[in-house]
C-alpha cells in the first residue's frame, strides 16, 4: 500500500482547508461584519402571536350557536423573572407563596427561556389589575386567547370542538405551532380552514425592563391576522333541541334531512354531551369521564353506528321489484303466519291474507318480501341468483348504501352490502340459492347501514327518485360551499314506481291496522315505515322512517331508539312529534300526553 502513502498530504491539506474555511467565515462574522453586533443589541425582541377571532357558527335561521369568549392566560418566561414582589403578586392572584413556587418550578422544568402558561384562564378582573402592575413583575405577561362559547347545550356532535394541536398535526401542516387551537371534530374540523382565519405576528422590541419600545424594523416582519369566516349551518336549532329532548335517557339517533336540498335539519346521537364542557382546560377532565361512560356519549351514532336496516328495507325491495317488473302494484301474495318452503320458515305476525303491495307495506308483511326477493333473484334472464344479485346490488348502491355519502362531518362510516364474492365464500360455492340469503328481503342478515344513509334513502323516496348529498353547512361568509352538495344523484328507479310505495307508507301511518299509527298527526300527511332491528345482545331496536307532507315533502327523517323493542313503540311517535314541531312550530294539545311519555321514557336506567 506504499503507493498511496502520498495521499496523507492531500488529506492533511483538505483538513487544514476545512479549518481555514471555518475560521475565515468566523473572522468575517465576528470581526468584520457589524450587522450582528447591532442585531444583538436589539435582539431583545418579543414575538407575540395575534390570534384572530374564530368564525362564528349560526343555525339555518340565523340563530347564533357558537361564539368566542376571551380568556387570559398568565404566561411566564422563568429566566426573565427578576426581583418581583412575590407577596403582592400572590395577593393579586389569590394564591400562597408555596403554590407560587410550585408553579414556577413546573414552568422551569418545561423551559427556562420559552414562555409557558403559569396560570391558565385568569378572570378579567385579575387580568385588569395585573396589567396595570405588569412592569413590576418582570418575566410575566398575559396572553389573550379566545375560546369557544356555545349558546345552546346542544348539537355537540354536529359542532365538534377545538383543542390544542398535537405533534402529528403540526408535522402535517406547517401553519400550526405548539399551543395553537385546531378543530378536532364536527364542523370545527371540516371547516377548520375557513373558521380559523390566519393568525398574525407582531415582533416588539423590549428594553431591559421588559417594556415595549416599539416594533422591530417598523413591523416589516409583522403579519396582520385575518378574521375567520362565519358559517351558517343547515341545522334548525329548535328542532335539534327538541329531538335531543325526546331522545333523552335513550340510546339512539335522529337524522332529519330536507329532501329537496339534502340539508341536514337535525342530527342527534343520544346520549350526547354538553359542548360547553369541552372548552379550554375543562376538556381533558370531561373527555376522560365521557370516554369511560359505557353509553358512549362521544360516539356519533348517527354516522358511525351501523345496523341491519330491518323492515324499512322492504321499501327499496318493493321499488326494485317494480323496476325489474317481477311484480306490479296489484300483485298479491298469501301469508298465513309466515313464509314456508320445505323446512324453511320465516315468521310473520297475524294479518288478513292475501295482501297486495300497498297493504304489505302498511302492515309490514314478511312473507310478501320473501316471495318478491325470490322473484328478483330467480329471474330467467339472469340464469343464476348470483348474476341477479349483482343487478340487485347495483340498485341498492344507487340509494347511497355501501359507500360514504360524502357528508361534511368527519368520521362517516360506509356501512356494508355484501358483494357476490362474500356469499361465494360464505356458502363455499358460486351456486348459492335465493333461499340462502332470503333474510335480506326483510333487512336482516349481513347488511349494515348507518342512520344517515337511511335518512338519505327517506329523502330519495320523498323526492321520488333522487337525492342530494346530505350536508351540514349552508353558507360560508365570503366563500361558496362545495359544489358537490348541489349535484343531483339519481336512484335507478323510475318515478312512477314510487307512487304505490309511498301510498303504502301513507296508509301505514294514517289507516287502521297501519304499523306506524303512533306517528299520526292531524292535518299533516305523514308517510312512514316501521322497522325492528334484531339485537342479539338485548331488546330489539325500534326504528322509524318518515317524511312529510306526502306531496312536496319538507322533511325526511329516521329515528333509531336502541332497545325500543318495536318500530311502533318509540320511534314512530317521536317521528310524528318532530314532524309536527318542524312543520307547525309547536305540538298540538291532543299530543301533549304522548310527548310527555316520550320525554320521560328512560331506556338507559330501566335496564340496570
Amino acid at each position: 500500500m506504499k503507493q498511496f502513502e502520498q495521499r496523507k498530504f492531500t488529506i492533511g491539506i483538505l483538513i487544514i482547508l476545512v479549518g481555514i474555511l471555518l475560521l475565515s467565515r468566523l473572522f468575517y462574522i465576528q470581526v468584520i461584519e457589524d450587522k450582528y453586533k447591532v442585531s444583538a443589541e436589539n435582539n431583545s425582541q418579543r414575538i407575540i402571536t395575534n390570534y384572530p377571532a374564530r368564525g362564528l357558527i349560526y343555525d339555518r335561521n340565523g340563530k347564533l350557536l357558537v361564539s368566542n369568549q376571551a380568556t387570559y392566560d398568565l404566561m411566564v418566561i422563568p429566566r426573565r423573572v427578576k426581583n418581583i414582589d412575590i407577596k403582592d403578586f400572590c395577593k393579586i392572584l389569590d394564591i400562597d407563596t408555596l403554590t407560587f413556587n410550585k408553579k414556577l418550578k413546573k414552568c422551569k422544568r418545561y423551559s427556562q427561556y420559552r414562555p409557558s402558561i403559569f396560570m391558565p384562564q385568569i378572570n378579567y378582573e385579575t387580568y385588569a389589575i395585573l396589567q396595570e402592575k405588569m412592569h413590576k413583575f418582570q418575566g410575566f405577561f398575559v396572553q389573550t386567547r379566545t375560546l369557544r362559547k356555545y349558546q345552546y347545550n346542544s348539537a355537540a356532535h354536529v359542532l365538534g370542538y377545538i383543542a390544542e394541536v398535537n405533534n402529528r398535526e403540526i408535522k402535517k401542516n406547517s401553519y400550526y405551532t405548539m399551543g395553537d387551537y385546531i378543530g378536532k371534530s364536527g364542523v370545527e374540523y371540516t371547516y377548520e380552514k375557513y373558521l380559523r382565519g390566519v393568525k398574525g405576528r407582531t415582533i416588539n422590541l423590549v428594553d431591559v425592563h421588559n417594556r415595549i419600545k416599539g416594533k422591530y424594523k417598523n413591523g416589516a416582519y409583522d403579519i396582520h391576522p385575518v378574521i375567520g369566516s362565519n358559517i351558517k349551518l343547515t341545522i334548525d336549532i329548535d328542532l335539534q333541541m327538541y329531538a335531543e329532548k325526546l331522545m333523552q335517557n335513550k340510546r339512539g339517533s335522529v337524522v332529519a334531512i330536507e329532501p329537496s336540498t339534502g340539508e341536514i335539519l337535525a342530527k342527534v346521537s343520544a346520549p350526547s354531551y354538553d359542548p360547553n364542557l369541552f372548552v379550554g382546560n375543562l376538556r381533558n377532565k370531561y373527555y376522560r369521564i365521557y370516554r369511560k361512560d359505557k353509553n358512549k356519549p362521544l360516539f356519533d351514532r348517527a354516522m358511525m353506528a351501523t345496523y341491519p336496516p330491518g323492515s324499512i328495507f322492504k321499501l327499496p325491495q318493493a321499488l326494485i321489484a317494480l323496476e325489474e317488473g317481477v311484480i306490479n302494484e296489484n300483485t298479491e301474495f298469501p301469508c298465513h303466519g309466515g313464509y314456508q318452503v320445505g323446512n324453511f320458515r320465516l315468521k310473520c305476525h297475524v294479518h288478513s291474507s292475501p295482501l297486495d303491495l300497498k297493504h304489505s307495506i302498511q302492515q309490514s308483511c314478511n312473507a310478501y318480501y320473501c316471495y318478491t326477493f325470490r322473484r328478483i333473484l330467480e329471474q330467467e334472464k339472469y340464469k343464476r341468483p348470483r348474476e341477479a344479485y349483482k343487478v340487485w346490488r347495483q340498485y341498492i348502491k344507487s340509494f347511497g348504501f355501501d359507500s360514504k355519502l360524502g357528508v361534511d362531518i368527519p368520521y362517516e362510516r360506509s356501512g356494508f352490502i355484501p358483494n357476490v364474492k362474500y356469499w361465494d365464500k360464505k356458502y363455499r360455492t358460486q351456486r348459492w340459492k335465493a333461499l340462502n340469503i332470503i333474510s335480506l328481503s326483510i333487512g336482516q342478515g349481513d347488511i349494515l347501514i348507518t342512520p344517515l344513509q337511511m335518512a338519505n334513502m327517506g329523502a330519495s323516496i320523498a323526492n321520488r327518485g333522487y337525492y342530494k348529498t346530505p350536508h351540514i353547512v349552508k353558507e360560508i361568509s365570503n366563500n361558496t360551499i362545495d359544489s358537490s352538495y348541489v349535484n343531483l344523484h339519481k336512484v335507478n328507479i323510475s318515478k312512477e314506481y314510487f307512487k304505490p310505495v309511498i301510498e303504502g307508507m301513507e296508509m301505514a301511518v294514517n289507516k287502521p291496522k297501519g304499523t306506524g299509527r303512533l306517528a299520526y298527526t292531524k292535518d299533516i300527511d305523514i308517510c312512514g315505515k316501521t322497522g325492528t332491528v334484531q339485537n342479539p345482545h338485548g331488546a330489539d331496536h325500534s326504528v322509524f322512517l318518515a317524511f312529510a307532507p306526502k306531496d312536496n315533502p319538507k322533511i325526511a327523517l329516521i329515528i333509531y331508539v336502541e332497545n325500543g323493542v318495536w318500530g311502533s313503540r318509540y320511534a314512530a311517535p317521536i317521528a310524528g312529534l318532530l314532524i309536527e314541531k318542524y312543520l307547525k312550530g309547536n305540538i298540538s294539545k291532543s299530543k301533549k300526553g304522548l310527548e310527555k311519555r316520550m320525554v320521560e321514557a328512560d331506556l338507559i336506567t330501566e335496564k340496570e
Partner: protein
C-alpha cells in the same frame, strides 16, 4: 503484570491525550456557561445539567481506563462481534426505544438515557478497519466495494429509520479513509463536482449551471489537449444548434425554456464529439464524455431531487443555508440567532459567563447542537480560533499517528477516527455560522450529553490504545 502496566502508560501518545483533556475541560466550562444563570433561585435545574455532565466526564474516564487496560488485540479480533452487537442494539431501539421529538433513538435505563447511534460510530469504524485490513485487500474490486458499502450503510440506514438523518450522514466521511486506501482520486473529485453542481443549480439556475458545465468541459479539454481550434469549434457548434432550435421553436410556436433548448443542443452535440474523438484517438475521450453527460443529467434532476426526494424540512434547511430563502423568525430562527450570538462576540468575546445572547431565550438547543454559540459569544474570534486550532491539531496528530502504524488495522481505524472528527467539526460549527444545513449533530466533547461524550472518547481512546501497542505486531 506491574511491568506491563508501566509499559502501557509509557507508550501512550500524551500529545493527543493533552489535547483531548483540554477539549473536555473547555467543553465542560462551556456547558456551565451556557446554562449558568446569575439570577436567583435556579440552582436546581442548572446544577442538574452541568453536574450531570461532570458525572459523565468521570464515567468516561472510567471507560478510558478500562479501554487502556484491555489487551489491544481484543479490538481487532472482536471488531465484527462489537459491530454485530451494535447493529442489534440499533434495530432494537427502533422497537423498544423512547420517542423524543419525533425520533425514536433513545434508550432509557433507569435515570440514564443513551443514544445507540452515537456508539455505532466506533463499532462501524472497527468493522470497516478490520475488513479493509484483510490480507491482500484491494479497494477497487466489485465484491469489496459492495461489502464495504454494506458495512457502512447498515448503521446509516438503521439510523435514518430512527428519524435521525443527521447522525447517519457521518458515515459519508469514511470516503476519506477509502481514498487513503486506494479509492481513485477522481471519485473524490466527482463528489466535489456533484456538490458544486447541486449548489450552483439552486442558487443560480439550471440554465447557467448547464452553461458552466459545458464551458468547463471545453476548458478541461483545452487544458488536456491544448487545441484551441477544436474548443472554439465546439462552442460555435453548440451555439449554432441552440440558435437554430430556438428559431424553429419560435416559428412553430413551441414553448420550451432556454434551458431545455440548450439541453437538447448539448445532447445533440455529444455523439458527434464522441465519434470525432474516437477517430482522432484523443486521450480520455470516453471517460470525459461520460462525466459531462453525468453532470448534465445530475444538473437536470437537481430540482426533482430537491422537491421530491428530500423531505420538506431538509430542503428548507438547505435553502436557508444557501440564502435562497430567508425566514429569520420561522425555520431560519436558530441559524439567525446563532449567527447573532457568535457575531456579537467580536474579536475577544464578552468574557466567561458574560454572554447575553446565549443566556436568554435566543439560541435554542444552546447546550447541545448550538454549544459553539457560547464559545463564539463569550470568547470571541480568539476563543473560536483556539478551539478550532486544538481540534485541527488533534485531527492532524491522529493522521500522523495513523501513518506510523505498522498494522493496517490500526492505521485504517485511525483514519476513520480522524474522518469522523473532521466531519463533526465541519458540520457542527458550519451550521452555527450558516455554512452547513442544520442537521443536528453534536460538537465532540463540547455538546451536552453523556452518549456523545462517551462515544467520542471511546472512539479516540481505542486508537490511542492501538497506537501504544504499535510496536507489537499483530493482525
Amino acid at each position: 503484570m506491574q511491568r506491563k502496566a508501566i509499559n502501557i502508560f509509557k507508550n501512550l501518545d500524551y500529545i493527543s491525550i493533552l489535547l483531548y483533556l483540554a477539549l473536555v475541560f473547555m467543553g465542560w466550562l462551556n456547558i456551565y456557561a451556557a446554562v449558568y444563570n446569575d439570577e436567583y433561585n435556579s440552582i436546581i435545574d442548572i446544577s442538574q445539567k452541568y453536574g450531570k455532565q461532570l458525572m459523565w466526564i468521570f464515567i468516561t474516564f472510567g471507560f478510558i481506563a478500562a479501554i487502556l487496560l484491555i489487551d489491544s488485540k481484543v479490538y481487532s479480533l472482536g471488531s465484527y462481534f462489537i459491530y454485530g452487537l451494535m447493529m442489534l442494539v440499533l434495530v432494537s431501539v427502533l422497537f423498544l426505544g423512547k420517542e423524543v421529538n419525533g425520533a425514536r433513538s433513545w434508550f432509557q435505563l433507569g435515570f440514564i438515557k443513551f443514544q445507540p447511534a452515537e456508539f455505532a460510530k466506533f463499532a462501524t469504524c472497527l468493522a470497516m478497519a478490520k475488513f479493509m485490513s484483510r490480507f491482500n485487500f484491494k479497494m477497487m474490486t466489485f465484491k469489496n466495494l459492495i461489502l464495504l458499502g454494506i458495512i457502512c450503510f447498515t448503521p446509516a440506514a438503521l439510523i435514518i429509520l430512527q428519524n435521525d438523518t443527521g447522525s447517519a450522514l457521518v458515515y459519508t466521511s469514511f470516503v476519506l479513509v477509502f481514498y487513503r486506501q486506494g479509492l481513485p482520486g477522481i471519485i473524490l473529485g466527482l463528489m466535489f463536482i456533484a456538490v458544486a453542481i447541486f449548489i450552483l443549480t439552486l442558487i443560480t439556475s439550471s440554465l447557467i449551471t448547464l452553461s458552466i458545465i459545458l464551458l468547463g468541459g471545453v476548458l478541461g479539454y483545452y487544458i488536456v489537449n491544448k487545441n484551441k481550434k477544436e474548443c472554439f469549434f465546439s462552442i460555435i457548434f453548440i451555439s449554432i444548434i441552440f440558435s437554430l432550435t430556438k428559431l424553429c421553436f419560435y416559428l412553430f410556436d413551441i414553448d420550451k425554456s432556454d434551458y431545455k433548448i440548450l439541453l437538447y443542443s448539448a445532447l445533440f452535440f455529444l455523439p458527434f464529439a464522441l465519434i470525432y474523438s474516437f477517430k482522432k484517438r484523443i486521450k480520455y475521450a470516453l471517460i470525459s464524455i461520460v462525466i459531462i453527460s453525468g453532470a448534465i443529467g445530475f444538473n437536470s434532476s437537481v430540482h426533482y431531487i430537491f422537491e421530491n426526494v428530500l423531505e420538506k424540512h431538509q430542503s428548507q434547511r438547505i435553502k436557508i443555508m444557501l440564502g435562497i430563502e430567508s425566514d429569520p423568525y420561522g425555520k431560519g430562527y436558530n441559524v439567525n440567532q446563532s449567527k447573532i450570538a457568535i457575531g456579537s462576540g467580536g474579536l475577544t468575546g464578552k468574557g466567561f459567563l458574560k454572554g447575553t445572547q446565549t443566556k436568554y431565550d435566543f439560541v435554542p438547543e444552546q447546550s447541545t447542537d448550538f454549544i459553539f454559540c457560547t464559545i463564539g459569544e463569550e470568547w470571541g474570534f480568539g476563543g473560536s480560533f483556539v478551539v478550532i486550532s486544538i481540534f485541527l491539531t488533534l485531527i492532524l496528530r491522529l493522521i500522523f499517528l495513523a501513518e506510523r502504524q505498522r498494522s493496517r488495522f490500526s492505521r485504517i481505524y485511525g483514519y476513520g477516527v480522524a474522518s469522523i472528527f473532521i466531519f463533526h467539526l465541519a458540520i457542527n460549527i458550519g451550521m452555527t455560522i450558516g455554512l452547513a444545513p442544520v442537521i443536528g449533530i453534536p460538537l465532540p466533547f463540547f455538546s451536552y450529553g453523556g452518549s456523545s461524550l462517551l462515544s467520542f472518547s471511546i472512539l479516540l481512546f481505542i486508537f490511542i490504545k492501538l497506537d501504544s501497542n504499535r510496536l507489537e505486531l499483530f493482525g
